[in-house]
Symmetry: C2
């Protein structure tokens, strides 16, 4: 094992933040005006340090000793409590939150790339932080002052942790079928009853309390998604004297996850004794709308987790390929010559460059999306806020799914490069491969992201959002092809693919207008993939341009290689995927279940 794995390449992150994303320009927004490049870099450096010195060294131990259920409580690895405290002290819980709630008011762009190190080092340990931030932020945004002081403050202070409790055993991804109930009382709280499953961090002994953000239906609420409300439901509630007492929240099981094994996934039973108090967050029946704030943040975090998990494995396999010797060049016939390093074999370089293109492409997408998030909230220009919000919404399913799906492929290649050793738990790539698989499932499966992108973001957006996107891409491509050293033909290929995507979208939207919703949506997974290829190519074009402006060295040449590789290898697939979406194949649309 290469224990000096850097997790993510520093030079790349600095290049991304400053050369590509020009993050310092965000300080023009009053919200970020107290910051400067130096404070950004300081936070990134602090995260790097903690990730390398503390998180990564505990990763394997947490993977090997997963949470266990004892007398109704979940016991997690003893390091979790210490690591959580160190992450709190780092400021990770509220890095992006305003100083008014104790935060550092950092741009999400900076926090995302800084936190990527924490995830790459130990994604389970970071998971407690990410969930707590999301839960606290929901109460910050939608809760009353009383709820904020009761629940948000102890979470942002790291005394309590948080979860999101959406999924129910019978409903799975279908939130319309949530049946947990909330009965109003005269004392301000509701009585909650129901079962939740797959609740990450749903119980543990690392903080004194856990606050669940629960979706439930107030008695008499409408059916479907418009009758769901959001509640804060703590494991322990404060009694009249200010002491923490049990709140009738029970662990009914621990899921034996195949990865993320430092973070429990729990089945919860709420209100078995009809004494589970929940406090309404936001307006009644609008819980899903509120929850979407957390879900959208969580989706981007899933993408970051995925890119980070692919990154650490990529760098591990790169180190292995440089250090492990095996075989000879295909043109070398002399068996007396010493063997060469794995990296000397073209097919190993293929697997490494493919990982690089996926990992760095994904990180750039996440950086770009985070920048839209920052501008959507904090730009002083209302047009820019609106435009950024639309682009953020549009790109969220891609920022979640591309790293999850292609990151899994990258993780598979990292294992493959390790050969038979990669297939053993003496080496780390198999663990990262297991971790990665969750990312195509949680916070909305890949299938759901495809429906969201095409149905909700693109078509329901009415064409305007896509036009906005196309303008943004075309402007960046035009700029890139003006930079000396950028291959104009590669840019042209990317531009053609974008045009093809736009034309495809028009065709599909017309089907929807004509009432053929199934014909429009049937290939939404292929549509998502085609869209993702274009988005990543766009980001590679931006990186190519930024690199070409720098003095040439190995790093710059590496960026150019990966950009060229992605555009040559993946972008032509857009044409083929578009043909499928337009109806080259209706096999599975028409298939009856007895034919499968």
């Amino acid at each position: 094992m290469a224990s000096d794995n850097p997790l993510i390449r520093d030079r790349f992150v600095d290049f991304l933040l400053h050369d590509v994303l020009d993050v310092t320009s965000l300080t023009r927004c009053p919200h970020f005006a107290e910051h400067e490049r130096e404070t950004f870099d300081l936070y990134v450096a602090a995260c790097r340090r903690l990730a390398r010195s503390r998180l990564f060294p505990t990763y394997r131990a947490m993977d090997e000793a997963p949470p266990r259920l004892e007398s109704g409580r979940v016991i997690v690895h003893a390091e979790v409590k210490r690591l959580f405290r160190e992450l709190v002290d780092l400021g990770a819980l509220n890095a992006t939150r305003p100083t008014s709630v104790g935060g550092q008011q950092l741009p999400m762009t900076v926090a995302a790339l800084a936190h990527a190190y924490l995830m790459a080092g130990n994604l389970s340990a970071y998971g407690y932080v990410g969930l707590t931030t999301g839960a606290a932020h929901l109460i910050e945004a939608f809760g009353s002052d009383a709820l904020r002081s009761t629940f948000m403050t102890p979470m942002y202070e790291g005394r309590w942790s948080g979860t999101m409790a959406l999924t129910e055993p019978q409903a799975g991804s279908s939130l319309a079928d949530v049946t947990s109930s909330a009965t109003p009382t005269s004392e301000g709280h509701h009585l909650i009853r129901g079962s939740k499953i797959f609740i990450s961090g749903g119980d543990h002994d690392a903080t004194e309390n856990v606050v669940h953000l629960v979706l439930a239906r107030i008695d008499g609420a409408p059916r479907g998604t418009k009758g769901i409300s959001l509640f804060a439901v703590p494991r322990l509630r404060l009694d009249a004297g200010g002491a923490l007492v049990p709140n009738d929240v029970h662990v009914s099981g621990v899921i034996h996850k195949i990865g993320w094994r430092g973070l429990p996934s729990v089945a919860l039973s709420l209100g078995e004794s009809n004494d589970c108090h929940g406090w309404l967050v936001g307006p009644p029946h609008q819980g899903l709308r509120c929850m979407f704030q957390m879900m959208n943040e969580a989706r981007i975090m899933v993408g970051l987790n995925a890119a980070s998990t692919a990154s650490v494995a990529y760098l591990e396999s790169l180190a292995y390929a440089k250090e492990r010797t095996q075989g000879r060049s295909i043109t070398e016939k002399d068996a007396s010559r010493p063997p060469v390093a794995l990296v000397a074999h073209a097919d190993v370089r293929r697997m490494l460059l493919r990982q690089k293109a996926i990992v760095e492409g994904a990180l750039c997408v996440l950086g770009a999306v985070s920048r839209y998030a920052d501008l959507s909230e904090h730009s002083t220009d209302a047009d820019e806020r609106a435009r950024s919000q639309k682009l953020l919404d549009l790109l969220t399913p891609i920022a979640k799914t591309f790293p999850a799906e292609k990151g899994f492929e990258a993780n598979t290649l990292a294992l493959q490069i390790h050969g038979g050793y990669g297939y053993s738990s003496e080496y780390l790539p198999e663990a990262w491969l297991r971790d990665q698989k969750l990312n195509s499932i949680h916070e909305g499966t890949t299938g759901i992201q495809g429906l969201d992108l095409l149905g909700r973001k693109v078509v329901a957006g009415g064409g305007n959002t896509l036009a906005l996107f196309a303008d943004e891409v075309l402007a960046d491509l035009a700029e890139a092809e003006g930079v000396s050293g950028v291959d104009v033909a590669s840019i042209a290929t990317t531009r053609e693919a974008l045009h093809r995507l736009v034309a495809l979208t028009a065709t599909l939207a017309q089907r929807g207008v004509a009432g053929d919703v199934e014909g429009m949506m049937g290939h939404s997974a292929d549509y998502l993939e085609a869209f993702s290829i274009v988005v990543v190519a766009w980001q590679w074009a931006r990186m190519w341009a930024a690199a070409a402006r720098r003095e040439e060295d190995a790093f710059v040449r590496g960026i150019v290689r990966a950009a060229r590789y992605w555009i040559a290898t993946e972008v032509p697939r857009v044409l083929q995927l578009a043909a499928l979406c337009e109806g080259a194949d209706r096999s599975y649309l028409d298939a009856r279940e007895d034919e499968l």
Copy 2:
């Protein structure tokens, strides 16, 4: 868990054996003349029964209790001993071997598809059998009468088991770097010294003895692959009095594999006390040539394992998708309507049809390749024997790699369909996903298969082999398009892809002739993928034709759907992969290691 998983669909296997492969026609070969359809079907039925009644029910228990090392011996799950005996009684060890050595003289085509059930049920349990057959067959083919009676007979009788011991820690896939040594003695045996790693079944307590087929260099042998000899090295050897005594073979470690956890993978130390006796099998320095018999058989067995592992997961996810309800149709707005089964969602049907196309396409390739193996050995027509041998050799890397690589994708989809449950070890798909990953690594990695296909099988074959292949495909396509119900446009698409593959091959071969070996071989992984797509499309065209001749029912419609899907979805990728091979991208060929 759907415990009534059929492992592989019986109707499909019957269709494959009789409608597509016309296996009964093999009885025209004198070697198979004692057989008839009924005896073939009886063996398949017996394998099905044992797989379902005994192998599959023990699968999970063996996965959960992997082998352990105790006082220098490997202890395996207690069921292994019983299962091995039942597999021996079934005749699995020597089903294809001649009656003269106690076998059933069945065609490999029949045995392959019958044994696929055993692999799908419990691939580790079957692994002991497959390795023993391979080792015994090596001695049958290359050993003296004395070696046959000493080693082959107890292996075919199931009293002893066998292994192949090629890999060494420092050499990995590079057999030219094998350093284990063999010193001649005056007593007929050699003294063996060396270290071997990743030896499947390399030690266990399920049989009284284990015979390793070991590659080693006789003192003074030439360097490289032409100085390697093959030896039978038992764990226990017979002393003068006929008693079994230790042979200085030691277990130096057990690999903690992530799958195939019922079958130990062992590091062996041979001759620590300079008392490890090995008996030369075949001529000196020609061990690799002999071993290739076992390796080629093993590669096809890996393909079968992969197809089988994908099959059982496919059928599990199909059952789950039919039984689990979740959400509603995208056109259903009424949340009061009951949820529908997962299979009603287009994207779930996509994942199922893709699995079906991969699984059944892979099984058909393996059936076709096995048929070439039967004809290459037993046809009375010398031309047919030679042609079949060439096609077998050509297609072996594809029969190994396509099921391994695309089977892994299929297994991933099976997990994905199970959602959060699929990510837990309470359900089986995650275990099959772990099992599957080995198949792209052992018996020659995917990278090595690509080099073998393009460099050795196609180019070194001098064009003749590829022409043979093209003739075979074109004849089958011509026949298929003459069958009413087969889509002529799909056949034309397949034919064009074949022509593109042939033209690509000519271009690459010319590069080789011109001395640009790296330019020829640089995209061998893409070449292998393009070739595989064509091969699988060819088999789907054959299945389409066979199905179209049958009365239409759901099974027939399912075959047609999958054939149409594969050709529409995958075959267009051949054009794009060919462009890459021809030089659309040289990024990783030119990349220096500091750019990766």
